[in-house]
Assembly symmetry: C2
Homo-oligomer: 197 residues x 2
């Protein structure tokens, strides 16, 4: 069993993170109580401070988990698309749609940057961003995109997408607004094409 101790610890960490995802998403980071949160996980604050150091540490762990899931989903969507250019558009649309989920929005887009600082400074620096950047790099190498800085392009693309998602989520008619947002996103993205259509 390779240390029953470490196994229990990993399980407790997972339960705390799961409870935190729910609490942070439902009430927001500031309003979430560590006592309630840990009780929900069947533990106490002692476990929390031992595993994550402080409240911010717990948020960081939660963000990393969600970020990894998002990156995996975006990559899957991109892989399913035909050529690289379609993949980039598909990934962008995927980000917009993912950002509609309250959990992603509240934790990753609102509280995350405010509490942890700019995402580029995060330890596991934004897997989402890396996926986009890799796609951009490949397309530049293939001559599909203009030779812009890959990181800059990836940042702007993701920034536009995520901001659009906040707008869509806050609107009264998400379906209409989502269509407009994706439409405008595709238009913007064509600005990166080496040979405009």
């Amino acid at each position: 069993m390779a240390t029953k101790r470490a196994q229990m610890m990993e399980e407790n960490r997972a339960r705390l993170i799961a409870a935190a995802r729910k609490a942070f998403a439902d009430q927001g980071y500031a309003a979430a109580s560590m006592d309630e949160l840990t009780a929900q996980a069947g533990l106490t604050r002692g476990a929390l401070y031992h595993n994550f150091g402080d409240k911010r540490g717990l948020l960081a762990a939660v963000v990393n988990q969600i970020d990894a899931e998002m990156a995996a989903r975006a990559q899957a969507v991109g892989a399913r698309a035909g050529d690289g250019w379609q993949a980039l558009l598909a990934e962008g649309a995927a980000y917009i749609e993912m950002a509609l989920e309250p959990e992603v929005q509240r934790i990753v887009l609102l509280d995350g940057p405010a509490v942890l600082g700019d995402p580029s400074r995060w330890a596991s620096q934004n897997s989402c961003l890396e996926v986009t950047q890799h796609t951009v790099e490949r397309l530049i190498a293939e001559g599909v995109l203009k030779p812009v800085d890959p990181e800059a392009a990836a940042r702007l693309i993701n920034g536009a997408a995520l901001n659009a998602a906040l707008w869509v989520a806050a609107s009264d008619e998400p379906r209409d607004v989502l269509a407009k947002a994706i439409d405008a996103f595709r238009a913007l993205a064509t600005g990166l094409l080496a040979k405009p259509v």
Copy 2:
């Protein structure tokens, strides 16, 4: 003098907002103490809760003030540019540069959305966004831009610009990175042109 009372109240409001701008920018919203903040302004929490209701109300007032200043600056930059298209690019670059200021970044870009929710829901709905949207609408009417949804385009443009600014500010070599960001921004923006260059 039209009521000395109202005059004093307006002055106190201004002093509180000024102290709050400094405190929120320096320490962040969560860490800023209302006691210190009000003392800095030569007042007490009584004045604060009477004028702004709660801590969020004070932040909202601060955000509105900064937002208005930013919009005015962007508009001035845009007016100074030649044609409408150049104005749009200039405004975008102006936003990126404004977002480099710690006050704007911390208060408007990080804490603002986290505490007050999505900017589109803010009472004095984002003057910055309105300026960009008006510019876009004019350019669409003139046939310079593709007929996309103006609000969507404005949101994406601002989102990209502000996100780029966060990146620039967090980087180790802001000058280099700023150039890359503006470069990529201009490339992206050309995607909106009806007749690509």
